[in-house]
């Protein structure tokens, strides 16, 4: 197991390096002029050159590259162009707020969608299965900002059950924070429901038809025992992978949700950075999301290995 962990960590580091390189290519290598983009088309050329000099975009590309790699591996993303504050002071508090929203969304969506997936699988091709599958297809097709806008008008404006401005006041208790956050979290939960439910359904269906499930049933285990001990352990592996992948992708959708609810998380921070062309902040935030993705997929692989003895055996060989 420890050898597996080591190998998996090693590959995570390589992926992180490649990811940072991709972000570097987008920002520094593609034919773009960052100073010009920040200052606009009418700024005098000297100012553009001065800004490019200050941001370091006039240095040889290899130096820029080494610097940007150092930033990634020391988790120090430099300074914001507009405020001069360290990028870390901007993105980490914002990440914490987005994290709360994301956690709530997952708490809402995971039990419901796994349960829906199991129900659909057990009633395969019956009406309830069709309903769950098609509902899942529809909900995962709706962009998060669309469901956010619709939920906003229903729950926050029409029924006044939630808040249209999701930033809780300072010092709010957990219960008060929940009042602010549940509607935006629901908007995200809706989009993830479809993937998770369909994934769980597919996993359970193929595990149900397996030899080990048949053997367990035939030796007289109750169907709930077969489900718990044999089917779920195997069927959940792809679901866990999907959840981990979504933790990374969630940050693509969270931007829209945070914008609709004026929530000041990582998504809003990135949007503000886009508006001000604050590339250091944007670059830091994108890299941070990549790092989170790496760790969540790593955790998922370890969890799958822990759940399934066969995977453990295979990797230790």
């Amino acid at each position: 197991m420890s050898r597996y962990l080591l190998r998996r960590l090693g590959s995570a580091v390589i992926t992180l390096w490649l990811l940072a390189t991709i972000v570097f290519v987008v920002v520094s290598v593609l034919p773009s002029n960052v100073g010009r983009q920040i200052l606009g088309p009418f700024a005098p050329q000297e100012q553009v050159d001065a800004l490019n000099h200050r941001l370091g975009f006039d240095r040889p590309i290899i130096i820029q590259y080494l610097q940007s790699m150092r930033r990634v591996f020391t988790l120090n993303f430099g300074e914001s162009y507009t405020s001069g504050a360290p990028v870390n002071d901007v993105i980490f508090p914002a990440l914490w707020r987005s994290g709360k929203l994301a956690l709530l969304a997952f708490i809402m969506t995971i039990p419901v969608s796994i349960l829906a997936g199991i129900i659909a699988a057990r009633r395969q091709d019956k009406l309830s299965d069709r309903a769950i599958v098609n509902l899942g297809l529809a909900t995962s097709s709706i962009p998060e900002f669309v469901s956010a806008a619709v939920l906003l008008s229903i729950f926050c404006v029409h029924w006044k059950l939630g808040k249209a401005f999701a930033n809780p006041p300072d010092g709010a208790t957990i219960v008060q924070q929940l009042q602010y956050l549940w509607v935006p979290a629901l908007a995200m939960a809706i989009t993830y429901f479809g993937y998770l439910a369909r994934m769980t359904r597919a996993g359970v269906i193929s595990a149900q038809h397996s030899d080990y499930a048949r053997t367990a049933t035939m030796k007289g285990m109750s169907s709930s025992q077969v489900m718990r001990r044999h089917i779920m352990r195997n069927a959940l592996a792809p679901t866990i992978t999907v959840i981990s992948v979504q933790i990374g992708y969630l940050f693509g959708g969270i931007i829209g949700v945070e914008r609709v609810f004026n929530y000041s998380g990582l998504g809003s921070t990135m949007l503000i950075a886009v508006g001000k062309r604050d590339i250091p902040v944007l670059q830091g935030a994108v890299l941070l999301v990549g790092i989170i993705y790496m760790f969540s997929t790593l955790a998922a692989d370890l969890l799958i290995a822990a759940l399934n003895p066969r995977v453990r055996l295979e990797v230790s060989k």
């Binding site: 297809l137 806008a149 993937y195 592996a237 792809p238 992708y249 969630l250 693509g252 886009v274």
Partner: protein
């Protein structure tokens, strides 16, 4: 987002491999005529699926709106002479927006903005992805190891984020959006194609082509490609849906065509601040338009996928 991970799932452990596995001959070397017959049969099965029919009806409505544009809209989508924020009525079925423009006309005309970019972006992404995936799967070895790593790194970046970064540094134009979405779809498609090619690579027809002395290019694109066309077609339909999803999210975030263009994402972004004042129609109808187009494409993709994967 993550749909390609769903297809992979957990390898051998979940699938109950039938014991007769050995007896089944490797994929029969389908001749051109057999292949055509199989394709015809698949097409017939796909056409009959209700999700395909429903999806197509919705999609055709939007394509018609996109092609005919202002020729069929009840009002001029840019005409602001009506009163602002009129609620839906018989004159303005979907009401008017904050500058007095007809929401229905804008929603109809807005189909063009997204349909102009999304399908070409998906097509381009699939084209690159097929070439890359083919190289990874067929050439294999070091090429595969290196490219797989790069693909994995790309997958760690949410499309919307890296697109925002690229648009911020490269400037905002529909060409940049199209190119960025295509490039970001490439690794996802490449991974699907790679695993399909890996399953074909050691089959008899490929070996015999190799022994015949055919070039790698010929084997890859004339022999293997027709046999992995199923997953590629599925991937293309799924990608079109995701392109609409991603592009409308980008234009909602301000990276779409500039105003007064009637783009759907841009309309939602103009309208959602008035929801608190009870003005829901300026947001709801363009939002519903986005949702309906993505759902329609995904219904079609679902039908194509269930037929092609069963065969």
């Amino acid at each position: 987002m993550s749909e390609s991970d769903q297809i992979e799932g957990n390898p051998e452990s979940m699938v109950s491999t039938p014991a007769v596995d050995v007896i089944i001959p490797a994929t029969p070397p389908a001749g051109p005529s057999e292949r055509r017959a199989a394709r015809k049969e698949n097409w017939r099965l796909i056409r009959r699926r209700p999700s395909f029919i429903v999806g197509n009806i919705i999609a055709i409505v939007w394509v018609t709106c996109a092609i005919l544009g202002t020729r069929i809209t009840p009002h001029d989508p840019l005409d602001f002479r009506a009163k602002p924020h009129l609620s839906p009525s018989s004159d303005f079925w979907f009401g008017t927006d904050k500058t007095g423009r007809d929401v229905l006309s804008r929603v109809m005309a807005g189909a063009r903005d997204v349909l102009k970019i999304a399908p070409p972006a998906a097509l381009l992404g699939v084209l690159f992805g097929v070439i890359l995936g083919m190289l990874m799967g067929y050439i294999g070895k070091r090429v595969d190891i290196i490219l797989s790593r790069i693909v994995e790194a790309f997958l760690a970046l949410p499309v919307v984020l890296i697109a925002l970064l690229a648009i911020t540094t490269l400037g905002n134009s529909s060409w940049v959006v199209l190119g960025v979405v295509a490039v970001l779809f490439t690794p996802v498609v490449a991974r699907t194609v790679r695993s399909a090619v890996l399953a074909e690579r050691d089959l008899d027809y490929v070996t015999s082509a190799r022994l015949r002395g055919e070039s790698k290019m010929f084997i890859m694109f004339k022999e293997v490609l027709p046999n992995v066309s199923g997953p590629i077609v599925v991937e293309l339909t799924v990608r079109i849906g995701y392109a609409v999803f991603a592009i409308s999210t980008l234009s909602f975030l301000g990276a779409g065509p500039p105003p007064p263009s009637p783009d759907w994402g841009a309309q939602v972004s103009e309208g959602f601040n008035s929801i608190s004042a009870g003005i829901w129609w300026t947001t709801f109808f363009p939002a519903a338009a986005i949702a309906s187009l993505v759902i329609a494409v995904n219904l079609i993709a679902d039908a194509v996928q269930s037929v092609l994967e069963a065969s």
